[in-house]
Amino acid sequence: MNVAVTLQFPAETQKLPEVLEKLDTNLLSAGCPEDARMQLAVAVEEIFVNIANYAYEGKQGSAVINIKADAHKATISFADSGFPYDPLQKEDPNIEQAVEDRPIGGLGVFLVKEMCDEVHYERRDDMNILTLVKKY
């Protein structure tokens, strides 16, 4: 089944369970397999939490999540009107480092890139728009 929905949430980490529940329901309807649903949920968590923590710098704001999915592919885009920020500019962590040298954190965006086939960022109409594509 083809799914196309647009959801809007307050950009607050406490909304994460609701975001992931809606995501899973829609991906399930589309026929997305379980392993891909889990990977997409991890990717969506990372992006949503980034928006909640950083986009509005303590002020209230929202995140709009657009989900298009069928039995073979999901395209999920996030829009926020917070400060311009392209998370894809962040350097990938060195995953070969010894445990003593590995910094705590910095893995979120890397996981998103690893989980998805494509990740795009654009700044349009004063909004940050990040789009994830995953085939399965």
Binding site: V42, I95, I104
Partner: protein, 99 residues
């Protein structure tokens, strides 16, 4: 996320169920702190964990650094395939002990 202490300190074993995400991972860490402070070793049984985000990775790395620094032992047990894939792609399988 729920958890059960199946072996008390100083050889602590904790069985975790559910999701280790942005909201639940810090809670698990703070809940376990009193027990961890009294332990020389920790086994996290992840048989019931079907979801791990970067917040869960942060918790695992924090624990690994802590036990290594103090000369203790930290191990994971019962890792499910989806979680294993995340540990693999982030290089965590090279720095964590898996039973």
């Amino acid at each position: 996320m729920t958890y059960e202490i199946t072996s008390p300190p100083p050889e602590l074993t904790v069985a975790v169920k559910g999701r280790l995400d942005t909201l639940t991972s810090p809670k698990l860490e703070s809940d376990l702190e009193p027990s961890i402070a009294k332990s020389k070793s920790l086994v996290l049984d992840l048989t019931g964990v079907d979801y791990l985000s970067s917040a869960g990775l942060r918790l695992l790395l924090t624990l690994q650094k802590r036990f290594k620094k103090e000369g203790g032992s930290f191990k994971l047990r019962g890792i499910q395939p989806g979680v294993m894939e995340i540990l693999r792609m982030t290089g965590f399988l090279k720095i964590l002990s898996v039973e």
